[in-house]
Symmetry: C2
Subunit: 233 residues, 2 copies
DNA sequence: CGCCTTGTAATACAACCGTTCAACAAGGAA
DNA sequence: TTCCTTGTTGAACGGTTGTATTACAAGGCG
């Protein structure tokens, strides 16, 4: 008698489901409020749970943010790659679709940019964030290298160095994405795609001497070996 | 008698000098501690004054940060432009020096990158920061347009659209600067200069159809006017 | 039905935040 | 030397932060 449990005050969830929900809430808060959204109370409110629950599933707030970084970066790369992957198309067409997916409206959302800024600002201060960054950025550049490598097989394209080419292309894309995210009136998304395609076509036309393979224009080589200080063409 | 003023407890400064000192202290804190350095107490401690003094010279902390943004952006642009300006050199050589100055060690400091991230993260939330960003970024791109314009006069270079070209080049430079700032082991500064020079040379060789003037490939035109679809230059 | 594990809530805590304000003193002016 | 302007201090305020800890209750198991 008088038990009247009515509606339970909370629902128990399996740890993995709750963790994913917290990660999702973190992404929502970062997108909406930027750096100020990275707070235990904001995130827990967004997830509809108490503040203390976060420290029960994650040792600290930065670990949760690192998990959110990993989740978002992986998700975005997979999404873009899925849209670009079409075996019935030519490598050049696949690359074009990769560009178009990268500058689609949902990727140019200012909220997404603010989220990314929070991640970047933590990379140099937090070891976990640095690890996630190195891994996800490596995967991103590897995808670019793969697409450029397929391109290189076709036609009579002069050989170019894959890794430096991917670095240059990803830099161009990043710079365009940033400016478009900060001020959408500077240029239209189609302009960014056009600039990327032009860059790729120029690469295939051999217009970038510093990227030609086999040559001595090796300023772009991996910095790892002992640096023989040779001329850069 | 018994006055013994000894060392005065503080020194009065003219308002402009004190404001400049506070701006300098702000830049030091942002460089060192990133987003956590943007605090009244940290900045005032760095400047060697009390916390309350900041609100006496600036209506709020964000106004101080906006002033610091303006100061740093203007200072850096002037410095780079000074190194590139040499009337005895060819336009192409001036552009090369602009690249080299942009990827010099003091510009690739991770602390500078963290400072910039703080500024960027505030642009979408604060009107003052947005105003500073639009103004300084406009000045930066105008410098790039000027250098590219001088280049265009020489030789028999096919005409290209100045503004979209400056947008593309600044995007490439920004992307390279960001990656170099986040992970200095990815590539050497000379590689960034090489990629920028290659891009410029390809532009002058007419390798970028989307940037050619007069063509109908006008995806890069200004979005502002009522779109008469005419070519610029 | 009752126990027991454990996911969850709620509170407490010390430290920090930006801003306000009254009191002080530095240093030029008269 | 005295006064007065005003740059400057330092405490106070209400708010926030991340984390630790305690008490609770949901829901499976015996």
């Amino acid at each position: 008698m008088a038990k009247t449990p009515g509606t339970p005050k909370f629902r128990r969830e399996p740890p993995v489901a709750r963790r994913e929900a917290l990660i999702e809430a973190t992404l929502v808060c970062l997108r909406r409020f930027g750096h100020e959204g990275m707070s235990v109370r904001q995130i827990s409110a967004q997830a509809g749970v108490s503040a203390g629950l976060i420290n029960h599933h994650f040792p600290s707030i930065t670990t949760l943010v690192a998990a959110a970084y990993d989740s978002l970066a992986t998700s975005l790369l997979h999404s873009i790659r899925r849209q670009a992957h079409d075996v019935s198309k030519t490598p050049r067409e696949r690359l074009r679709r990769f560009f178009e997916a990268s500058f689609a409206p949902d990727l140019l959302d200012p909220g997404l940019f603010n989220t990314w800024l929070v991640f970047w600002s933590m990379v140099s201060h937090d070891a976990e964030m640095r690890a996630v960054h190195d891994r996800t950025y490596g995967a991103y550049r590897a995808t670019l290298e793969s697409l450029l490598g397929q391109l290189r097989l076709d036609d009579d394209i002069p050989a170019f160095k894959l890794r430096p080419a991917a670095i240059g292309l990803s830099a161009l894309m990043d710079g365009l994405w940033i400016e478009a995210s900060m001020n959408s009136r500077t240029f239209k998304p189609a302009a960014a795609v056009s600039l990327c395609e032009d860059w790729t076509n120029a690469l295939c036309a051999g217009a970038f001497p510093g990227l030609r393979a086999g040559g001595r224009a090796s300023a772009l080589q991996r910095p790892k070996p002992p640096q023989k200080t040779q001329s850069e063409s």
